[in-house]
Assembly symmetry: C2
Homo-oligomer: 343 residues x 2
Amino acid sequence: MSEDYILVTGGAGYIGSHTVVELLNSNYNVVVIDNLVNACMESISRVEEITGKTVPALQVDLLDKNAIKSVFKKYKISVVMHFAGLKAVGESVELPLLYYHTNIGGTVNLLEVMKEYNVKNIIFSSSATVYGTPQYLPVDENHPVGGCTNAYGKTKFFIEEIIKDVCNADKSWNAVLLRYFNPVGAHKSGKIGENPQGVPNNLMPFVAQVAVGRRDHLTVFGDDYDTPDGTGVRDYIHIVDLAQGHVAAIKKVEAGCGCVVYNLGTGIGYSVLDMVKAFEKATEKPIPYKVAPRRAGDIATVYANPQNAEKELGWKATRTLDEMCEDLWRWQSNNPNGYKASS
Amino acid sequence: MSEDYILVTGGAGYIGSHTVVELLNSNYNVVVIDNLVNACMESISRVEEITGKTVPALQVDLLDKNAIKSVFKKYKISVVMHFAGLKAVGESVELPLLYYHTNIGGTVNLLEVMKEYNVKNIIFSSSATVYGTPQYLPVDENHPVGGCTNAYGKTKFFIEEIIKDVCNADKSWNAVLLRYFNPVGAHKSGKIGENPQGVPNNLMPFVAQVAVGRRDHLTVFGDDYDTPDGTGVRDYIHIVDLAQGHVAAIKKVEAGCGCVVYNLGTGIGYSVLDMVKAFEKATEKPIPYKVAPRRAGDIATVYANPQNAEKELGWKATRTLDEMCEDLWRWQSNNPNGYKASS
């Protein structure tokens, strides 16, 4: 094993923790930093249980530049995987300055420290939200970007542009910008999973909390979209597939790729009601739901063209909808209150 | 005179100092902050000479949030005019992180302090660069934005989006985003003007330094554009016209406008050679020039549709090309080394 470390920012979060598992399984050394604003260190203990390896994990806020530097002083970092950031769409509309300050300020600090320590490989956690309302389907990486209307999505777009400019100014940088579609599910062990604070913003954690009895019913926002059953269609991707996409991206940055962009999705669209039915099948529990009006900013249908990632990263999502639901349910039923009960 | 102050960030700079003169002439109280990275306090002394009024001016960096707060504690601010920021296109391509850190970080700090002190009126110094390569001419405010390729221009675009989101989240904010075309010239007194550090990035300061003997000759980048004489065409606007546009914008924010955007330009395009000839006429000096290849990122022709500002701000540029050149020459010949000699 080499002395090099992969630095994972936001590594205690949902996507971060699953990616750390896959990195450890691929024999990378990992160091995690997380400000724990929206995560807890219990997830890292679980990662250690799953993998039988230890992970140094430090409470570091990216707004504290000296704290970032201390990590780069202590560990020889070869690649940074940058997941850290606030991510609630609705909150970002209410509190845009918080999002710009945290996500843009934190990323610029991180990039400055990377530059100072001559660490010029980054994999960035972007989002399909940068595409805004799709002009065609499936959405490929050449689709116009920047059309999204909430501050959360804009921070993803702005950070992509910042990283592109950094790579353009200094050709020794390599960056893979990964545009996620809708990550769901959990690790097969049932030990780690999505652990939203308060009311979940995303469909599947909400559905799971209904199944486990923490919520009465699901609210379906709009059943009059131009889709097969009238509910919104998204490209749900199993979190472990997504995590493995990041491991594939490491090889790309290490080969020297400049700044490249890939969709991480399945290419398949499922409606809200498809997801509810699949989850009912996996859990053998009914998921009561009520239909409410559409939410502002929601769109009918989005799904990815994931072919570039397959061609250029040698990565493809393989896990089925049933597996997403079964794995989510194992996590949720084993941990009805997330990480809280055991912390 | 009221107890309210207009806070002018970057008030010691070229556009800032001329705007402070017009504000004082319109009987506003002004407090200036500037980090003096690209300006000096001598400009404020000159503003005081011109107007016969005193201006509190503090060396404050917008990256120092506590320093901003101390200004808001001391002065009752009614409107912020936000000029502060790095502005060299070429440097921004080389050092994008410096630009994102300074311009975005500084603005977010400023907006956070404004919010904290319940000061929710802002006039922002944006740029026609946000339009990128024009899709039609003249460029009006509905032209698509975000197409520019350098970090300087992107910071202007990102800040516009940030301010829009802030206004959208809280309807008690008012913002006027002013998209400048090409400000040139100087105050009629010859006491204040553009004072670039090092080699000027913009045409007219360079021409003026040739005339005054600080440079051998002008380099014209490209004479094979699809324009009447082959050189690039821009919308040059007299700095005092531009400054007066800001005074007009104050009334707009005070009336409660939400977030609005105006071009500040004349609507007239002049070529590089037009400008050289006009300057030769004003100075009765020859301006030797050499033609060099086009610069990457430069475009053939840009000029404004300034009708919205006329209609909604009651403001219109009135100063002629000859006046721009005469006033620039008075400043340059009286101050061949800018503010340096007298500081």
